[in-house]
C-alpha cells in the first residue's frame, strides 16, 4: 500500500483544464489544445500507476473526512487502474475526433461541449479510483451532471426530452445508491470497497439482504443499461456522436458496469452473492437483456440507435461475466470492458464520420458508401466482426472466457445465451456491411473520405481492437491485470 497524490492529480487534470477551456472560448485552436494537453497528461499520470497495479498493489490517498469516520479517499487498485487506463486513453482519441466532428458538423456552443467533456473525464477517473461508496457517489453524481449538457447539446426538443429522461433515470439511481449505501453502512459500519466484500461475518435476514441488493442493483443498473433500466441510453443518442462514442459506449456505461463489479466483488463479495443466491437474479437479468437488446437492435433503422441497443446487450455480457462468480467468467467480464470499449468506440466514430461527411443517419441510406469511405467502413467491419465474436478481433477473446467461465460454474444456459447473441450480432451488423459494400449507392459522386481528424482516430481504435485480440498482453499487460483483479475477488482477501 503506497501513498501518492498521483490518483488525485489524474482526476484533477481535466478539471483544471475547464477554466482554461472556458477562457479560450474565442480561440478554438487554443481551446482544443487544452483538451489535448489535459488528455495526454491524464493518460501519462494513469500510466505511472500501472506498474504498481500489475504487481497487485494499490496506491492510496486519504484526503479528508467527508463525514465523521468516513474519509474522502482514493485508492488506485488494479481494477481502478484498469478502468482508468481505458477511459483516459480513449479520451485522447475522442478529443481529436471531436475536433473533426464538431467543426465538420458546425456545432454551436463548442466551449460548453469541451468543458463538459473534461468534467466527465474527471468524474470517470474519480469513479475508477474511489476507495469507498461515499467518494464513489460524489463522482457518480458529478458524471451525471456533467453528461447532461452533452446530451442536450443541440437543444432541439428531442434532445431536451432525452436530457429529461436521462436525468430522471440517473438521478433516481443516484438517490437509490445513497439509500443503499446508507443501509450497508448501518449494518456493516463500513462502506469501503474491500475485495471479498464488506459483510465479513455479519449475517442479515435474507429479505433484508435481498432488498439492499435490489436497491443497489437498481442504482448501478441504470448506468449499466440493464433492462428494464436502459431506457435513457437509446434516447441519449440525441447527443453529438463523440459523446455517444466515449460516454455512452465507454465512460458512463462502463462506470455502470464498473459499479456492478464493485458491488459484486467489493461490497457484497462473491461469497455473500452465492450464499444468498443474489447472483441468480443478476444472471437472469443480464441474460435476458443480452437477448432482448439484440432483438430490438434488429428493428432499428437509425444507425446510432442500433449501436445503442448493441451497447445495452454488450454491457450485459460484462454483467453476466461478473455474475457467474467464477474466476474465468469474471476475467472474461473484465476483459470485455476493454474489448467492447475499443470496438464500440470505433463503430460510433464511424457512424459520426458518416453523419458529418454524408449527412446520413439511417441504415437504409448507407448503400454503397464503402466506395467513398473505404477506411471508415473497413474499421466498421473490424468493429462489428469483433462484437459478433469472430476471431482474431478482441471480442472473441473475452467471449471465449465468458463461455469458459459458464462451463466452470456448470452453467449451460449462459453459454447458449452467448452463442445465440453472437449470431444475433452477426444478424444485425452484417446487413449494414452488406449495404455498404455490395449495394449500389446513389448521390455519392461528390463525396470522399471524412476529414483526417476523424479517420485517423477511427483507424487507431480499429487497429487496437485487432492488436488486443491477437496479443492481449501487448500493451500494459492488460490481460494479466484482468486476471489479477478477478483472482483477488475469489481468494477472499487482498491480492
Amino acid at each position: 500500500m503506497d501513498l501518492s497524490i498521483v490518483p488525485l492529480l489524474a482526476i484533477l487534470v481535466s478539471l483544471a483544464a475547464v477554466p482554461l477551456i472556458l477562457f479560450s472560448s474565442e480561440k478554438p485552436n487554443v481551446r482544443e489544445a487544452w483538451t489535448i494537453i489535459a488528455g495526454l497528461i491524464k493518460f501519462s499520470l494513469v500510466l505511472t500507476l500501472l506498474p504498481e497495479a500489475i504487481q497487485g498493489n494499490s496506491v492510496e490517498l486519504h484526503l479528508f473526512d467527508i463525514a465523521p469516520g468516513l474519509p474522502f479517499a482514493l485508492n488506485a487498485d488494479p481494477f481502478g487502474v484498469y478502468f482508468a487506463v481505458i477511459a483516459s486513453g480513449l479520451w485522447i482519441f475522442t478529443s481529436f475526433y471531436s475536433i473533426g466532428y464538431m467543426r465538420g458538423a458546425g456545432e454551436k456552443k463548442q466551449t460548453r461541449y469541451f468543458a463538459s467533456f473534461a468534467v466527465c473525464l474527471s468524474a470517470t477517473i474519480g469513479i475508477a479510483f474511489s476507495a469507498n461508496l461515499l467518494t464513489f457517489i460524489v463522482f457518480y453524481e458529478m458524471l451525471t451532471l456533467a453528461t447532461y449538457p452533452l446530451v442536450i447539446h443541440n437543444e432541439k426538443r428531442e434532445a431536451i426530452n432525452a436530457g429529461r429522461k436521462y436525468l430522471a433515470f440517473t438521478l433516481t439511481a443516484g438517490l437509490l445508491l445513497v439509500a443503499a449505501s446508507a443501509i450497508i453502512y448501518h449494518y456493516t459500519g463500513t462502506i469501503e470497497f474491500t475485495p471479498g466484500g464488506v459483510f465479513g461475518d455479519i449475517e442479515l435476514p435474507r429479505n433484508t439482504m435481498l432488498v439492499v441488493f435490489i436497491l443497489f442493483l437498481a442504482a448501478v443498473g441504470v448506468k449499466a443499461g440493464i433492462m428494464p433500466l436502459h431506457g435513457w441510453l437509446p434516447a441519449a443518442m440525441a447527443a453529438p456522436t463523440p459523446v455517444s462514442a466515449l460516454l455512452h459506449a465507454v465512460a458512463v456505461v462502463k462506470s455502470g458496469v464498473f459499479a456492478v463489479t464493485r458491488m459484486v466483488g467489493f461490497i457484497f463479495g462473491t461469497d455473500v452473492m452465492a450464499a444468498y443466491g443474489l447472483n441468480d437474479i443478476l444472471i437472469v437479468m443480464a441474460g435476458s437483456t443480452i437477448i432482448l437488446a439484440s432483438l430490438i437492435a434488429f428493428a432499428q433503422d437509425n444507425l446510432k440507435r442500433r449501436l445503442a441497443y448493441s451497447t445495452v446487450g454488450h454491457l450485459s455480457y460484462i454483467v453476466l461475466g461478473v455474475a457467474l462468480l467464477t474466476p474465468l467468467g469474471m476475467t472474461g467480464g473484465i476483459m470485455h470492458i476493454a474489448a467492447h470499449a475499443t470496438m464500440k468506440i470505433t463503430l460510433f466514430f464511424c457512424a459520426g464520420a458518416i453523419y458529418v461527411n454524408l449527412h446520413r443517419t439511417e441504415i437504409s441510406n448507407l448503400n454503397g458508401i464503402a466506395k467513398v469511405m473505404p477506411w471508415t467502413m473497413g474499421a466498421f467491419a473490424v468493429g462489428s466482426m469483433g462484437l459478433a465474436g469472430i476471431p482474431p478481433i478482441n471480442g472473441f477473446f473475452s467471449k471465449w472466457y465468458l463461455i469458459l467461465g459458464s462451463l466452470e460454474g456448470d452453467m449451460i444456459i449462459p453459454v447458449i445465451v452467448l452463442i445465440v447473441s453472437g449470431l444475433l450480432n452477426v444478424g444485425y451488423f452484417f446487413p449494414i456491411l452488406y449495404r455498404a459494400y455490395f449495394k449500389k449507392g446513389e448521390g455519392l459522386e461528390s463525396y470522399g473520405e471524412a476529414s483526417p481528424f476523424m479517420v485517423v482516430p477511427i483507424m487507431i481504435t480499429a487497429t487496437l481492437s485487432v492488436l488486443f485480440g491477437l496479443f492481449p498482453n501487448l500493451f500494459f499487460n492488460f490481460f494479466d491485470l484482468a486476471v489479477l483483479v478477478s483472482e483477488s475477488l475469489f481468494s477472499g482477501g487482498t491480492p
Binding site: L145, L171, T172
Partner: protein, 495 residues
C-alpha cells in the same frame, strides 16, 4: 471576563441598534442600512466569539442581574443555541448587506422603519434562541412575530393582506403556546426550562402536562410552518419585498423549529414526549406529508418566489423529520439542514431578488436564454444552489440528506427514507425546469432573429452580488467541511 457576558451582549446589540437607527435615520435616512449592517455584523462577531468560547470552556448560564432562577430569568448559551445563533446572525448580516439596493427600489422612504423593525425582529429571534425561560420565550416570540408582520406588509399590493393573514394565524399559534406554558406553570410552579425538565418526569401521567406539550408543539408548529399549519407562508414570502423575504425566509421558520427541538428533546426529553402516545412519530408523519406536499406545490408554481416559498414548506419538513427521529444522525442531519437550508434559501431568494431588480419580475415562464449572458454570476449561483437543493454531492444539501437517511435507517423507518428520496426527485423537477429555460434556447420557439449582439453583460452590482456569491461558495465549503460541523452536532445530542 467579557466572555461570560457575551450571551446578553449579542441580544443587546440588536436593542442598541434598534434604537440607534431611528435616531440617526431621522437625521439622514441613508444611514439606516449601514447601521443595520453594522449591528448585525457586530452581533455575528459576538456570536462567533461566544461560540469559540463555548468550544473552549463550555456552556454559559447567564443570570440577569445575578438573580438565580426561578426568581430571576436567565439566558442559556449551550452548543445548540450557540450554533443556531451563529447561523441566523450571519445569514441576517449578509441579507442586510444585500438589502441596500432592492430596498431603495422597493420601499424608498420607509427605510427607517424597515431597518429598525429588522433589528427588533432579530432581537426577538436571538432572545428566543437564548432564553432559558418559557414565558420569556413567549415575549421574544411576540417581539419577532410583530416585527415580521410589519416587515412582510412592506411589499407588493397584496402584502398587507398576506401579513394580516399571517398575523391572525401566528397570533393563534402564539396563544396556543402560551396556554401550554400556563398549564405547565400551574403543574410545576416554575417557568425555567432546566428546572422544569427536572420536575416533568414526576408528572408523566398528568393529562394537563400532555395537553400542554401538544398545545406547545402545535403553537410553535404554526410558526415553523409545519404542514398543515403552513397556510400563512406562501403568500407572505411571495408578496413581501425582496429584502424582507431574503431576511425572513431563511431564518424565521428555523428559529421556531429550534424551539420545537428545545421542547421535545430538552424540556421533555424524547422518552417523556412519547410517554403517552408516540407524538414524535406523528410529528414526523406530518413533516413527511409537508415534504411531499411542498415539493408538489412548488412544481405547480410559475412565480419563482412562490415556488421557493413552497419549497421552504418542504424543506422545513426535513428539519422536523430529523427531530422526530430523535437519534443522533437525525438530530445532526436536521441541524445541518438548518444551516444548509438557511444558506440555500437566502441565496435563492437573493437570486429571485436580482431578477426582480433587473427584469422587474421573477416569473419563471418568462425566463429565457438571454439571462445566461446578462446575469452569468446570478445564474451560476442559481445552479449551485439548485444542485444543492436537489441534494447532489459534494454540495451542502447532499450531506444533510445523507445524515437524515442514516437516521431513518437507524430507526428502521423505511417510509421516511422513501419520502426523502421521492422529494429529492421532485426538487430536481422544479429546479432543472429553470436551469433548462436559462441555459438552453427555447426549442419550440419560432426562428427568432439573432439578438445575441444586443444582449450584454448586465449583472447586479457588488452590494447585491457579493452576499449571493458568498452564499453559493458557502454551499461548497459547507459540503467539504461538513464532517467537522456534524461531529460537533453529534457531540451535543442531548442523550
Amino acid at each position: 471576563m467579557i466572555e461570560t457576558h457575551l450571551p446578553a451582549i449579542i441580544a443587546l446589540t440588536f436593542v442598541l441598534f434598534a434604537l440607534l437607527i431611528p435616531l440617526f435615520g431621522l437625521w439622514k435616512e441613508q444611514l439606516c442600512q449601514p447601521l443595520a449592517v453594522l449591528g448585525s455584523g457586530l452581533a455575528t462577531a459576538f456570536s462567533l466569539l461566544a461560540f469559540i468560547n463555548y468550544l473552549q470552556s463550555g456552556s454559559i448560564r447567564y443570570l440577569f442581574g445575578g438573580w438565580e432562577p426561578p426568581i430571576g430569568i436567565e439566558f442559556v448559551y449551550d452548543g445548540l443555541s450557540g450554533f443556531i445563533l451563529l447561523v441566523i446572525n450571519s445569514v441576517a448580516f449578509l441579507a442586510l448587506i444585500y438589502a441596500k439596493k432592492p430596498g431603495q427600489m422597493e420601499f424608498q422612504g420607509k427605510e427607517l422603519a424597515y431597518y429598525a423593525l429588522a433589528m427588533l425582529m432579530m432581537l426577538g429571534f436571538n432572545g428566543m434562541v437564548l432564553t432559558g425561560d418559557l414565558f420569556n420565550l413567549y415575549v421574544f416570540l411576540e417581539i419577532s412575530s410583530l416585527s415580521s408582520y410589519a416587515l412582510i406588509s412592506i411589499g407588493n399590493k397584496p402584502a398587507p393582506f398576506a401579513a394580516f393573514r399571517y398575523l391572525i394565524i401566528g397570533t393563534a399559534g402564539g396563544t396556543l403556546y402560551l396556554l401550554g406554558v400556563g398549564f405547565l406553570y400551574t403543574n410545576t410552579g416554575t417557568l425555567n426550562i432546566i428546572d422544569m425538565s427536572a420536575m416533568l418526569p414526576m408528572l408523566v401521567d398528568n393529562s394537563s402536562v400532555v395537553t400542554a406539550l401538544i398545545l406547545m408543539v402545535v403553537g410553535i408548529g404554526v410558526k415553523a410552518a409545519v404542514f398543515p399549519m403552513h397556510g400563512w407562508l406562501p403568500d407572505s414570502y411571495t408578496y413581501a419585498s425582496t429584502p424582507s423575504s431574503t431576511l425572513i425566509a431563511p431564518i424565521g421558520t428555523k428559529v421556531a423549529a429550534y424551539i420545537l427541538f428545545r421542547i421535545m428533546l430538552y424540556l421533555f426529553g424524547i422518552e417523556l414526549t412519547d410517554a403517552v402516545f408516540p407524538l414524535s412519530y406523528i410529528v414526523g408523519v406530518f413533516a413527511c406529508i409537508g415534504i411531499i406536499y411542498g415539493s408538489v406545490m412548488a412544481i405547480a408554481q410559475t412565480e419563482m418566489k412562490r415556488m421557493l416559498a413552497y419549497s421552504s414548506v418542504s424543506q422545513i419538513g426535513y428539519i422536523i423529520m430529523g427531530l422526530s427521529l430523535a437519534n443522533p444522525f437525525g438530530f445532526a442531519g436536521a441541524l445541518l439542514h438548518v444551516l444548509n437550508h438557511a444558506v440555500m434559501k437566502a441565496c435563492l431568494f437573493m437570486i429571485a431578488g436580482n431578477l426582480r431588480y433587473k427584469e422587474g419580475h421573477s416569473n419563471i415562464s418568462l425566463f429565457n436564454e438571454s439571462y445566461r449572458i446578462k446575469y452569468p454570476w446570478t445564474m451560476a449561483s442559481f445552479s449551485v444552489a439548485a444542485i444543492s437543493m436537489v441534494g447532489l454531492p459534494p454540495l451542502a444539501g447532499f450531506f444533510s440528506k445523507w445524515y437524515l437517511v442514516l437516521g431513518t435507517i437507524d430507526n428502521s423507518n423505511w417510509i421516511f427514507l422513501a419520502v426523502i428520496i421521492v422529494s429529492s426527485l421532485l426538487n430536481a423537477v422544479y429546479f432543472f425546469r429553470i436551469l433548462e429555460k436559462v441555459y438552453m434556447k427555447n426549442p419550440d420557439a419560432e426562428q427568432q432573429p439573432d439578438k445575441a449582439a444586443e444582449i450584454k453583460y448586465d449583472d447586479v452590482s457588488p452590494s447585491m452580488m457579493s452576499p449571493m456569491a458568498i452564499m453559493a461558495v458557502g454551499l461548497i465549503v459547507i459540503g467539504f467541511a461538513n464532517a467537522a460541523i456534524v461531529s460537533f452536532l453529534l457531540g451535543i445530542f442531548p442523550m
